[in-house]
């Protein structure tokens, strides 16, 4: 019987050991970052990682105090193949930065500690603890918790009298008392985390669980972004400052943002980061109205991917934006300055009174597309001097070639007639020149180095530096070529795209220093194109994605990233 019990006990403890260390993260956490070592080592095996110079340097630095030879990151004693966590927690009195990582070899880890610090290690019941000023490390055979802590000023300011009146603190300075109290509390906290939280763990938070992607190399989650910013502001300004920030604590969700979840992926041919931002119900309503529209289909007729080094697209409902703007401002700044809430409110109402949201919304619909087409060379003049045989100077005008951007801007507008009237007035005052079906903007040559043409067509106001392009637009000869970009633009409220490969190859070498050329060439060869896009509201969340496409010659994008990092470190 006893034997059976022993077997069960051993088995149970084995299960406990293998159990996810994530369960030790408390539920009342503010933010969590998880680094999925297993995923990373799958992409770049430890043996390959050790070969990088930057990795060698890092290991060297970490093991400087070690007596034994450390040749690989696996010799540091950490379990590289498992997940590691950072999390941020705070109470009314102390805030904690926590790191949680599994150990494979306790002795190897202890070897990293300097002889002087080793004297501080206290062993108790299979747990080792080392305290330093503002930090605590606790570990056993297979787990390390390291935390840094900071005391909250407000709390200790308010409670000074109470602490100092306690008998045990008699004769001590408040500075010392504070130090003793925080270190005691931090120790209790550290032990409770290390021993585990049971049911009160973060694993019972559905939003947290849902935010994480199994395939991500790293994930981050913030429970309430608005609140975190609030408290950051409060700690900067204090509660007794100019603004009564203490009142804000009850006004949570100041900025309308709730949770944020982000995941970082190293795919075969791309580095990708996705973000989900949750909004509160007020903001959700506003954002839904503002970002409900898709970019006008007409825009696609004037996009050619062979002619785009970079672009920015934007699709909003201008009328809704103007209507919602006052409320948005009140909710943002009314919270920061509660005593001015009424004034802000009234200001917003007045703004609405003066603006004809519908008319402005027709003049500018909220759709916008900016395309960087190319870099061109243009001859510009400048003043220099010539000297005669007696070195008497004479002013002369010289010319030189300068690189100028070629671009096209499209702005959605339903007021074609009005805009054409403006153009006619412009011609009268010689601001515009009437060409065959389009206009040339007569800007002073000194102020803009490129020509600019404009036309209003198909509910779009165009500005472009290329006469050929504007003529094609005017005469319905523009050849569209959308490729993957239609999908990219269509499904997002905003997109920022850049084709690094093409863009860099278009920059004349003469414009770059040798170092820059080397750097740019490396980027050009290792990163193809990249985009950032932000979706319309889905439920109460905004989804955004950043993606950098990499060549797949190196196997996966993490290898590309490490190689890039290696090259940059070397070139410094």
């Amino acid at each position: 019987m006893k034997k059976n019990l022993l077997v069960i006990a051993v088995f149970a403890s084995f299960i406990c050991m293998a159990q996810n260390i994530e369960s030790k993260i408390p539920k009342n956490v503010e933010a969590v970052i998880s680094i999925n070592g297993d995923r990373l080592t799958e992409l770049v095996p430890i043996s390959e990682f050790d070969d990088f110079n930057f990795a060698k340097k890092m290991v060297d630095k970490l093991s400087r105090k070690s007596d034994s030879i450390v040749a690989s990151i696996k010799d540091l004693g950490f379990d590289i193949n498992s997940k590691a966590f950072y999390f941020y927690t705070r109470t009314d009195s102390i805030s904690y930065h926590n790191f949680l990582v599994k150990l494979t070899d306790k002795n190897k880890f202890e070897n990293l500690i300097s002889a002087r610090d080793k004297e501080k290690i206290v062993s108790e019941g299979g747990i080792q603890m080392m305290e330093n000023r503002g930090s605590i490390a606790i570990w056993n055979n297979n787990l390390l918790l390291f935390l840094g802590y900071e005391k909250g000023h407000d709390y200790f300011e308010k409670n000074e009298e109470r602490f100092m009146s306690e008998g045990e603190n008699e004769g001590k300075s408040y500075y010392k008392v504070k130090k003793i109290i925080t270190s005691q509390w931090a120790k209790t906290y550290a032990l409770s985390i290390f021993r585990g939280n049971g049911e009160a763990s973060i694993l019972s938070d559905k939003d947290y669980i849902a935010s994480k992607d199994k395939n991500a190399a790293a994930s981050a989650w913030i429970k309430n972004y608005g609140q975190l910013i609030n408290s950051a502001l409060a700690s900067v300004y204090g509660t007794t400052g100019v603004f009564p920030f203490s009142k804000l604590k009850s006004r949570s969700n100041l900025y309308g943002f709730k949770s944020i979840g982000a995941n970082l992926f190293f795919d075969k041919d791309a580095i990708r980061m996705t973000t989900e931002t949750e909004l509160n119900s007020d903001w959700k309503k506003m954002f839904k109205k503002v970002y409900n529209s898709k970019i006008d289909k007409n825009f696609y007729n004037y996009f050619n991917q062979n002619d785009a080094l970079a672009y920015i697209s934007l699709s909003m409902d201008m009328q809704a934006l103007l209507e919602e703007y006052p409320a948005l401002m009140t909710s943002m700044y009314g919270g920061i300055m509660p005593s001015y809430k009424e004034e802000m409110d009234l200001g917003g109402e007045f703004l609405s009174l003066f603006l004809d949201e519908k008319a402005i919304g027709e003049l500018m619909t909220g759709d916008m597309l900016f395309v960087l087409n190319d870099f061109g060379e243009k001859e510009v003049t400048y003043t220099s001097y010539e000297y005669d045989a007696d070195y008497k100077s004479k002013e002369i005008t010289k010319t030189k070639k300068e690189v100028v951007p070629d671009f096209t801007i499209m702005i959605g507008s339903k007021k074609e007639k009005l805009l054409n009237k403006v153009a006619r007035l412009g011609i009268k005052f010689e601001l515009f020149e009437n060409k065959a079906g389009y206009y040339k903007v007569n800007a002073p040559k000194n102020e803009i180095p490129f020509d600019l043409y404009t036309i209003v067509k198909n509910n779009i106001l165009f500005f472009t530096t290329s006469e050929e392009k504007i003529s094609n637009i005017a005469n319905n000869r523009f050849v569209k070529n959308l490729g993957k970009h239609q999908k990219l633009i269509k499904n997002s409220s905003s997109t920022f795209y850049i084709n690094g490969e093409k863009l860099i190859s278009k920059i004349p070498a003469s414009e770059l220093s040798r170092k820059e050329r080397r750097y740019f060439n490396y980027v050009k060869d290792n990163f193809k194109d990249a985009y950032f896009k932000s979706s319309k509201m889905k439920g109460n969340k905004i989804h955004s994605e950043m993606k950098i496409n990499t060549p797949n010659s190196q196997g996966n994008s993490l290898k590309v990233f490490f190689n890039f990092f290696e090259a940059m470190v070397k070139k410094r």
């Binding site: 920015i312 400048y382 001097y385 007696d390 100077s393 000194n446 180095p449 905003s494």
Partner: protein, 223 residues
């Protein structure tokens, strides 16, 4: 977010273009050591870039001054120069179209000229300039000396890469005219004119920074 994106894109386009500028120092000396000086800063070659920079609040962490601020600063310097003993006929021009700025004046002796130069620098610099005598005229030896004290290569090391680029194509030209013919000059880059009464020295800022060349010179005149 979007505005920032556009700004970054535009900024990037212009910062890529390296800038150029030239500084010209022209001094005519009379026999008694008095004379006339014209200082010119010509940024015309970087006009396009400057036009774009003037639209920004700051660049590479430097605040971009407005036209008014520049004009005020120039006016201040001019005011100071006018008060220097031995200085007269102070004139200046600022051309914001071509970005060419000039200051000219008459001086009674090189001491006054040194004081003029020191006015373009900070107070601390100014006292060093006076001590170091950027310009000196030894009448007994009939020797004119152009000196300067800055250790540019040291100063240069303190700046970052972005800032260094600004000097890559900058030049400094000095032209000195005398009433007596020039016998010799110590700086081998300097060229003496056909009439022997003028000497010109053009140096790249890069060469000054790398200590390959200098605007220092010692010019010996015929008695």
């Amino acid at each position: 977010m979007h505005n920032k994106g556009i700004k970054v894109l535009f900024l990037g386009l212009f910062i890529l273009c390296t800038s150029c500028f030239e500084i010209i120092e022209e001094v005519s000396f009379n026999k008694d050591g008095s004379g006339h000086v014209t200082l010119t800063v010509n940024l015309s070659k970087s006009r396009t870039k400057l036009n774009s920079i003037m639209l920004l609040d700051s660049i590479n962490n430097y605040k971009v001054p407005s036209k008014i601020e520049i004009k005020n600063k120039i006016a201040q310097v001019i005011q100071k120069i006018k008060q220097i003993e031995g200085i007269s006929n102070v004139k200046n021009s600022s051309d914001f179209n071509d970005y060419i700025f000039t200051v000219s004046c008459n001086f009674t002796n090189v001491e006054a000229l040194n004081t003029v130069i020191s006015n373009f620098s900070s107070k601390k610099e100014a006292s060093i300039i006076k001590q170091q005598q950027h310009f000196s005229f030894d009448t007994s030896q009939n020797t004119f000396t152009r000196n300067y004290h800055y250790d540019l290569s040291q100063e240069f090391k303190k700046t970052n890469m972005e800032d260094r680029k600004v000097f890559e194509t900058a030049t400094m030209t000095t032209i000195y005219r005398f009433e007596s013919p020039i016998i010799s000059s110590k700086n081998p880059t300097a060229k003496i004119s056909g009439s022997k009464k003028a000497i010109m020295l053009r140096v790249n800022a890069q060469d000054i920074i790398k200590n390959k060349n200098t605007i220092k010179n010692q010019i010996k005149l015929q008695k």
